[in-house]
């Protein structure tokens, strides 16, 4: 679900960054031999920072970056060849003897009383099971009322996908529509239908000092007031949610899951198969995107397991595309009204905000305002407004892109109000030098220096105008002691590394192998990484950019121990001390010894060497910055908005694989651009139907929209490994909004920023100019 536990703390914790924190100091002095480190904890994809106690003695350390031969290089992915030839088998691709295809029937109304007659569907040829998903704890004499548009109500399993569709159609379902609320306005109206038993207003909290903020606002030289509206965004993982449950009776089963958490699924599926954890193997060989929406098995995964248990046949249940839009989570929308003030000399003096999170039946997320920038005094009220729509889930930097859009717009509006260069105004209100140097760098790369109109829009008559916008971001991305890794060296020289962790497209498999190769002085191809299985060491889910910072240190620890064990075993035979030996270029040398890796390993016993590694705090870092600039072209005749170039600089400590890190930064920028310009869930407020639950009408950025992209890794950051999946996705849409204003003077406060809104904005500007002339007794 939507990670309410972590989010619920948002308002109470006053971090200016928007990150949730335990506080700046550890809770108590460390125990002997221990020390405190601050790190990131993720619950259902939502992060919070906390202090944990770790061993004070240093474990292994990363070599100097300049000395690295495999790590910190541009490494093509080890699973690239499989993926480009179609050989990579995703859960969706699993085909097993006797396998049945399952589908879900979704309630087509936001709220309805449900009655199902399954008999006709059960009689169809090739249909093996049809079951109601009526909650088992609902008393038999009570009405079954659905709570959200798209709630699953029945499931079928049949021999082909086509027959499964027939079975869905043959279910005689009666839906008695009940009053519903699918928009914020409907949910807030007097006598609105009650969405949740606890009402339509969920978690509410306040932050800051209202009186001080009002006072500071009154004293400010310039004040702006504006409302910023962000729509619900869909994750749109290309591989849908779900799994294949391979159970054929007996006491063993295998589950192939499309998930970002091998163990998040493994922790739940065995009981739905009627088995114990040790009797089930959960596999995540490859998976087609998650972005925060794929942790536990979900109703689709649970249903697949229960069908397999009933039928004793493998069951394939991955959601149909329309179902993905309706019942697989989303990024919550929000409405944010902000009053903010600045002093003439360029200081952000006050900010007062009311924020409504729109997470459907879930809580939604928002990182809080002010976001990142230092503000004299502030006060905000945040609440959740519930509607009869699917619950929000974690989505790449939950809550941050929403907060960033409002904050960067406010900064821009204030800069314009006091007539200051928008970059200079930002630099004057950032508390941390890292953001300043990063902003200056993206400004250089985007060509700010030579830009003609820095403080206001292009007032020329040119039909096509260009503008530049900026934004900053922050995230935790630290690791935790949640991974256990095994490294093996075999007598034939084969090296393998095992972890239950999963690769959701970030390149996990590749850096796991690379860390071991670096340690042994081998090439990347000499090491086999075996990941994505519950049979291997435990690992955290890939949420909140915590995978690399949690997993890499444990891999390094295991590899370091294996190296020491190897040298201790070999040294006496070779007549040297272990510390005389070095591993490089596939050879073991030193003290007069010079032998090849395989030759050395041949001296091992048949059992080879096996070591286990755990998390080492020294090898990871926590807390990142990022800055982004966008250059946008606006056609004032057609309203077309084209992003010409985007630049993002991101610190992430040690980038394990530079090539994959760049790809992650590109991906973040592209998703933010797509969110800003195209994406929006559209639900008809009267009918309560989603109008764009397909890939034609829910538009995402494609090839033709791609600008020139420049992903930059901030090499001045010399810390250990920190994740970077989330932060590059935070600031792009805000920067684009500001670039549009810088180009033509239209301030778009509602996403997506489409041509029609731009044209209306231009018309309003013209009408305003006419009104001003007439009001001044002008020529009319």
């Amino acid at each position: 679900m939507s990670g309410r536990g972590a989010e619920g703390l948002a308002g109470a914790l006053g971090a200016a960054t928007g990150r949730l924190q335990d506080g700046d100091q550890p809770p108590r002095p460390p125990k002997p031999g221990k020390k405190w480190v601050k790190t990131t904890k993720v619950v259902d994809g939502h992060e919070r920072e906390e202090w944990i106690e770790v061993d004070a003695a240093g474990g292994p350390s990363w070599p100097e970056r300049s000395a690295m031969r495999v790590l910190h290089q541009r490494l093509p992915r080890v699973d690239g060849p499989e993926k480009v030839t179609g050989a990579a088998r995703y859960p969706h691709d699993v085909r097993l003897p006797g396998m049945l295809f399952a589908r879900l029937l979704l309630c087509p109304h936001p709220c309805a009383k449900v009655e199902l007659d399954l008999e006709a569907a059960r009689k169809l040829r090739g249909v093996h099971a049809v079951r109601s998903l009526r909650p088992s704890d609902l008393p038999a004499d009570e009405d079954w009322i659905t709570r959200y548009l798209g709630q699953p109500v029945a499931a079928v399993a049949a021999e082909t996908p086509e027959l499964a569709e027939d079975a869905l159609r043959a279910i005689a379902a009666r839906f008695d529509e009940r009053p519903f609320a699918v928009t914020r306005e409907q949910a807030l109206a007097p006598n609105a239908p009650q969405v949740r038993s606890d009402g339509n207003l969920g978690r509410r909290n306040e932050r800051g000092d209202r009186e001080a903020a009002e006072k500071a606002l009154a004293a400010a030289d310039r004040v702006i007031e504006a409302t910023y509206v962000l729509p619900v965004q869909h994750h749109l993982c290309l591989e849908p949610h779900g799994l294949v449950a391979d159970y054929r009776g007996g006491e063993e089963a295998t589950v192939y899951a499309s998930t970002q958490g091998t163990f998040a699924v493994h922790g739940e599926v065995p009981r739905h198969l009627g088995l114990q954890a040790g009797q089930v193997t959960t596999l995540v060989p490859h998976m087609g995107g998650g972005f925060g929406s794929k942790f536990g098995p979900g109703v689709e995964g649970v249903t697949a397991c229960e069908l397999a248990r009933e039928l004793k046949r493998p069951v394939h249940l991955l959601l149909a595309r329309a179902d993905e839009f309706l019942t697989a989570g989303n990024r919550s929308g929000c409405v944010q009204t902000v009053r903010a003030g600045a002093t003439k000399d360029g200081k952000l003096a006050a900010l007062i905000a009311t924020i409504d999170r729109l997470g459907g039946i879930g809580g939604g997320s928002h990182a809080g305002l002010p976001y990142i920038y230092t503000c004299g005094a502030s006060f905000s009220e945040i609440r959740s407004v519930h509607t009869n729509t699917d619950g929000s889930r974690a989505f790449r930097a939950p809550g941050h892109p929403q907060a960033s859009f409002a904050m960067e717009s406010v900064m821009d509006e204030l800069a314009c109000a006091i007539g200051m260069d928008r970059l200079a105004f930002r630099l004057a209100n950032l508390g941390d030098d890292v953001w300043k140097r990063q902003l200056e760098r993206v400004a250089r790369e985007i060509g700010w220096e030579g830009h003609r109109h820095k403080a206001g829009p292009d007032l020329s008559d040119a039909p096509v105008k260009e503008g530049i916008g900026f934004g900053v971001s922050t995230w935790g991305g630290g690791g935790r002691p949640e991974c256990e890794v095994e490294v093996r060296i075999a007598r034939d020289g084969g090296v393998s590394v095992f972890s239950g962790s999963q690769d959701l497209g970030t390149g996990t498999r590749t850096y796991v192998a690379a860390i071991v190769a670096e340690e042994f002085g081998l090439a990347l191809g000499d090491v086999t990484a075996r990941i994505g299985s519950s049979a291997y060491g435990r690992a955290n889910g890939s949420g909140g950019s915590t995978t690399a910072a949690s997993l890499a240190p444990a891999v390094k620890d295991a590899a370091h121990k294996a190296r020491e064990a190897l040298l201790e075993r070999l040294a006496p035979e070779l007549g040297v001390r272990p510390d005389q030996l070095a591993l490089a270029d596939g050879r073991i040398t030193g003290g007069g010894v010079n032998i090849g890796w395989k030759e050395a390993c041949a001296r091992l016993g048949a059992d080879g060497i096996t070591t286990h590694g755990t998390w080492q705090a020294e090898l990871a870092g926590n807390g990142v910055h990022g800055a982004l600039a966008a250059r946008v072209q606006v056609d004032t005749l057609t309203g077309e908005i084209a992003v010409v170039k985007m630049v993002c600089v991101q610190d992430c400590g040690l980038a394990l694989n530079v090539l994959a890190a760049e790809s992650q930064i590109n991906g973040g920028m592209i998703q933010a651009m797509s969110y800003g310009l195209f994406e929006e869930r559209v639900i008809d407020p009267d009918l309560g139907l989603m109008l764009n639950a397909n890939l034609d009408d829910y538009k995402i950025a494609g090839c033709r929209e791609m600008p020139e992209m420049l992903p930059l890794i901030d090499e001045e950051d010399r810390r250990g490994v920190i994740g970077l999946g989330e932060p590059p996705a935070i600031a792009g849409h805000g920067a684009i909004a500001n670039a549009i204003h810088n180009a033509c003077g239209v301030r778009l406060r509602e996403m997506p920023m489409t041509a029609d809104k731009l044209l209306m904005g231009l018309e309003a500007l013209r009408a305003g100019a006419r009104g001003a002339r007439e009001g001044a007794g002008g020529r009319g």
């Binding site: 996908p161 086509e162 749109l236 991906g667 973040g668 890939l695 034609d696």
Partner: protein, 152 residues
């Protein structure tokens, strides 16, 4: 992919579902994503031309030559396009990758010297959610050069 495949399917079965569910062994390289002709993840070559396999009936492919992503590499060796995708990191989760590989291959077969703009047009029917587009363009331009497209 050069071999004769005989499948018995209902008339409504799409080419994509026939490939994925009825061929032996199943050809699951082409992906089912939108089932709607919007995303290109199921792109295959039908008589050498790229088509959305989810928008073709299987019966329509009877007697015709179908090349899926599995059929591009001969003798276990990656094609220059596939090699370039790997080298330039033109994939992340990889679910859209087969479709892009087929689209780029078809484009460069026709015109190895395709420009960036022509490559964007050739792939404008393919969607990626991870955001690999810039690297796909790099890979396609590099592969074009290798295939004799020369400088452009």
């Amino acid at each position: 992919n050069g071999a004769k495949q005989k499948v018995k399917v209902e008339p409504r079965t799409t080419l994509l579902n026939a490939l994925r569910n009825h061929c032996e062994p199943p050809l699951t390289g082409a992906k089912l994503v939108c089932d709607h002709g919007s995303c290109g993840a199921c792109t295959v070559l039908l008589d050498g031309r790229p088509v959305y396999a989810c928008m073709q009936l299987a019966a329509n492919a009877a007697g015709r030559e179908v090349t899926t992503v599995e059929g591009l590499a001969k003798g276990g060796e990656l094609t220059p396009v596939q090699q370039a995708f790997v080298e330039h990191d033109a994939l992340m989760c990889g679910f859209c990758t087969p479709g892009f590989v087929v689209s780029v291959s078809a484009c460069l077969k026709e015109k190895p010297s395709a420009t960036l703009d022509e490559i964007k047009t050739a792939c404008s029917g393919n969607l990626c959610r991870c955001g690999t587009y810039p690297k796909i363009f790099e890979a396609a331009l590099a592969a074009g050069k290798k295939l004799g497209g020369g400088p452009r």
